[in-house]
Structures are given as structure tokens and as C-alpha cells.
């Protein structure tokens, strides 16, 4: 019996959304739809992830700024909706599942 494709665990983090330059929630929904079956989303308080998708409403990117550089995670950061959701998923899956 063949095993199904590995599902990668990725943390999903949103900025506060004070003054978004695009509809970040609609864009996030598109990304989540494309990721279905390939990514299991967890919160930052969760465990077992090494990649974070950060959805920012603008280029200030507050949560990423706050995280600084000394952290163990790989960050895929979104600050506008110009990149196709498929490309974002490819980036998130780049290093395989764990």
C-alpha cells in the first residue's frame, strides 16, 4: 500500500491588520485553499513546525520585525497579493515535510 504525500506542518501568523494595503484575508484564503491536503496549519503556540507563513497587511511587516533574526524558523513572508498562491505554497514546501 502506497503512503500518501507527506503533509507539512506550517505555522500561520497574521499581522494585526491596522491599515492593510490589500485584502490580506481574501489572499490568505486563496493560499489556504491551494495548500489543502499538503500543509497542516498550526498557530505559533503549536509545536513541530520549522516554517512560518507570515501574512502582513503592508510592507512594515510588524510580526516579522518583532521576531528579529535570532529564531530557529524559516519565514515565508507575504506583504502584498502579487505572487500567485501556488508559488507561496512551493516556497513553504521547499524543504520537504517533517
Amino acid at each position: 500500500m502506497r503512503a500518501g504525500p507527506a503533509v507539512k506542518k506550517v505555522a500561520l501568523k497574521y499581522c494585526g491588520g491596522c491599515d492593510c494595503t490589500y485584502d490580506r484575508l481574501a489572499y490568505a484564503k486563496r493560499i489556504l485553499a491551494v495548500a489543502q491536503g499538503r500543509i497542516r496549519w498550526v498557530s505559533m503556540e503549536g509545536e513541530g513546525f520549522n516554517t512560518i507563513l507570515m501574512i502582513h497587511g503592508c510592507h512594515v511587516a510588524c510580526p516579522e520585525e518583532k521576531l528579529g533574526r535570532n529564531h530557529p524558523w524559516r519565514i515565508v513572508s507575504v506583504s502584498d497579493d502579487r505572487v500567485a498562491p501556488e508559488e507561496i505554497i512551493d516556497k513553504l514546501l521547499e524543504r520537504g515535510g517533517e
Binding site: 500561520l12 501568523k13 497574521y14 499581522c15 494585526g16 491588520g17 491596522c18 491599515d19 490580506r24 484575508l25 490568505a28 498557530s43 501574512i55 510588524c62 510580526p63
Partner: protein, 481 residues
Amino acid sequence: MKRIETKEDYVMSLKDQKVRIYYNGQLVEDRSTHPGFVPHINSAAKTYELALMPEYEDLMTAKSHLTGKRISRFTHIHQSIDDLIKKVQMLRLISHETASCYQRCVGFDALNALYMTTYEIDEKYGTPYFKRFEEYLKRIQDENFMLVGGMTDPKGDRSKRPSEQADPDLFTRVVEKRKDGVIINGAKAHQTGAVNSHEIMILPTQAMGPGDEAYAIAAAIPLDVPGITMIFGRQTNEERKVEASLDAGNVDFGMVGGEALVVFENVFVPWERVFMCGEVDFCGTLVERFATLHRQNYGGCKGGIADIIVGASALAAQYQGTLNASHIKDKLVEMTHLAETVYSGSVACSALGSKTKSGAYYPDPLLANCTKHNITRHIYEISRLAHDVAGGILATLPFSRDLNNAEIGKYVEKFMKGVSGVSTETRMKVLRLLENMTGGTALVESMHGAGSPQSQRVMYQRLGKLPEKMRMARKLAKVNE
């Protein structure tokens, strides 16, 4: 009280707490379903709803410095410059969701002002207020109830001090001190969100001096205790709230916060809820801190509301085919400039905030006053430009019932139509939204909320460093006199 988490918890808690409110001469039986209050309840409920969404948690919640638990930011004591800025960002965010006042900032600011000031009162007099206040704070952070900040007294004859008034109740006062607490008489006017809050935090309304000790009172009072009566203020849109049609403009949310007169008639307050009692020398400090914290907000909340006015104005122009006219584009640019100007004031006073002795952070008072002063002008100018862009139709639009009338609806449909591809109803909805946000009570709130313009100008005189500016000018002019 059971912890309030969700919008539904909040609405149910309002139903459960039996308060005495009059609306248009009638005693209200159930405030949670009264059509005069529902839009304001919806606005405040949004603060509970958004706090549970991961998409907004960074702004809507904070970590309590007392318990380490995640709490509503509206019950948080600012622990950093970042907290001060996040407060402003949060307000802009909620304005984008409601295009209205969501009321909880007043209680939020009262909590922060008291935290800083009780610490310093205790330091001087050895009183137990700070410790007592911390216990209260833990409770509100845990239960997440809604607190109205009770600042403004009716004040009667403004030329006279509290203790000189013909009617002593025109300033809220202690009429009796007992072993177990105090008895309070008086009233608080213009109380934003009072009818849909659970408690009121009364504060002294102004700086006071010797002889005014009875008026130097700060205390938290549940709104359902005997002796409290609330009388809701008449707004310019209340019949439309009852209709709940597109004529309301902002159908789900209020025009402003929903203000009430709160009357105290022999109200008993136990000592554990009293945070200042007679320390007249701290009234000025407490009032100035509350005012600064509250004036800090306005570029966030009104900036966010201005964003919606700009958007609605652009839609109105688009629907009537004028969006690409150069003068319309220029007016929208000017409105955007003014909106961002008020927002930058709020961010600036936060960024230049400082740590108080209590550890809580406090915005720069001069810049906070400047922010609010700009609101008393810029929101009027933004609204004036919105009226200019939208056209006279804003004042003469027929009723929604005319649009829906079997006999004459076809005329409204035909003659109120703008560009093809946009229905008349759509155009009317946007025009009504603009009308709702740019006239009547909405404008007066921008003028007087968080203090009338003159109160900010008094602060300019006090904080404007005029002697230092004169010294610098003397130095450059090489004069000594």
C-alpha cells in the same frame, strides 16, 4: 461576573444585568434588544469578536503584566512604546470594521490613568489605592466586562468651582463617608457606551483645590446598583435606527458611541472600589493623564473612520461618473492627506511616549493634544469635501420606502440612477453611508469628544515651552532684552 469571551457572551451579559435606562421618556425593559441601542452594542461587540480571531490578535490582545495571561487590549496597561502604538493601530482597525465608535477606549484610558496616578498618590500619602486598583484590574482583565470611563460632570455654572455651585450635585461628590464605603450623589454627562456597559469608573472632572475634597473621587461602580439611572441622549438618526432600512446608512453600527446621562442618587460604593477620595492635589494630574490618553486615540479611531469616508466618497463619485474628473481626484487626495495627518499625530505622540513611576507608559501630552485639536478641524474638512464630492443628492435623496413603493419606485429607480452597471439601490446605500458619517451628531462628537478645542489650547499654553522658544529667538537675533 462570568468571563465574557464572545460577542454572544457580551450581549447575554447585557441582558442579564438589570440596569435602569430611559430612552425617549420610556423605561427600557431589555437593553440588549432595544433598537436604539443595538447598533452601539454591535460596535462594542466587534471588540470581543475581533479579539478571538488570529487575523487580529496582535492588535486586539495583549499579555497581562500582572498575570501573564492573554487579555483584551482594552483592559491592558501599556508596558512599552510598542503598546502605545498598537493601541492606535487597533483603533484604526476597528474603525475600518464598524465606521463608528466602539466605546471601550474610554474605560481603557481610565484604567491606565488611574494605574499611573494611584501609584503616585500612595507614594505621597501612604494610601492603599494602587494595590486596591491592581486587584480591580486583575478582575476586569479576567472577566473582560465593559467599563465606561466617567469623566464629565454637568458642571452647572462654569465660572464657579465645584464647592461654589448653587446645587452641589452638579459635580459628582461624596455626601457621606462610612466605615464600609462612601455615598455618592451627582451625575456624569455624555457617557459614551454607558447603556451597554457593565460598570462605570468615575473620575474627577477637572483640577481641584482646597475646599473641593468631596469632589475628588475616583471609584468603580456596577451600573445595576440602586440609585443609578441612565438617560439616553437623542441623536440625529434614531428614527432611522428603528427603521433598520438602508436609510440608516450604517445599518449594523451606530453613528457615534451612544451617549447617556448617568445619574447617581445616594449610590453606595464600598472602599475596595474607591481609588481616590479627597486628594485634591492629584485631580489635575489624573484629569490630564486621562485626557492625554484619550486624545491620543483620535487619529486612530477617526483616522480609520476617515478612511471609510474617503472610500465612500470615491464610490459615490464612481457611481455617478465623476471619479476621473481631476477636481474630484484632488479632493480625494486632500481627504487622504488629512486622514493620514491625524493618524500620524496619534502615532507620533505614542512613539514619543515615556515610562511613568508606576511602570506604565504614557503618550507625549503636547502631541496628543495636538492630535485631538486637529480632529476638531480635519474631520469637518474631510466631511465638507465628502459633501462636495457626493453632490446635493446627499441632502435630497428620497426614502428607501419610496424606492420600494410599487407605485413610485420606478421613478426613484429611473431618476436616481447613475452610471450603467450600478443599481440605484447601490448608489443610495453609499450616499446614505456618507450622510450618516459626515453630519449631525457624528461631527459634534469630533468637536467635543475627549475635550472641547479650548481644553487643548489651554494645554498648548501650559506645555508649549514658550519661554524656551523666546530664548532661542533671542539667541539667534543676538538680543538680550
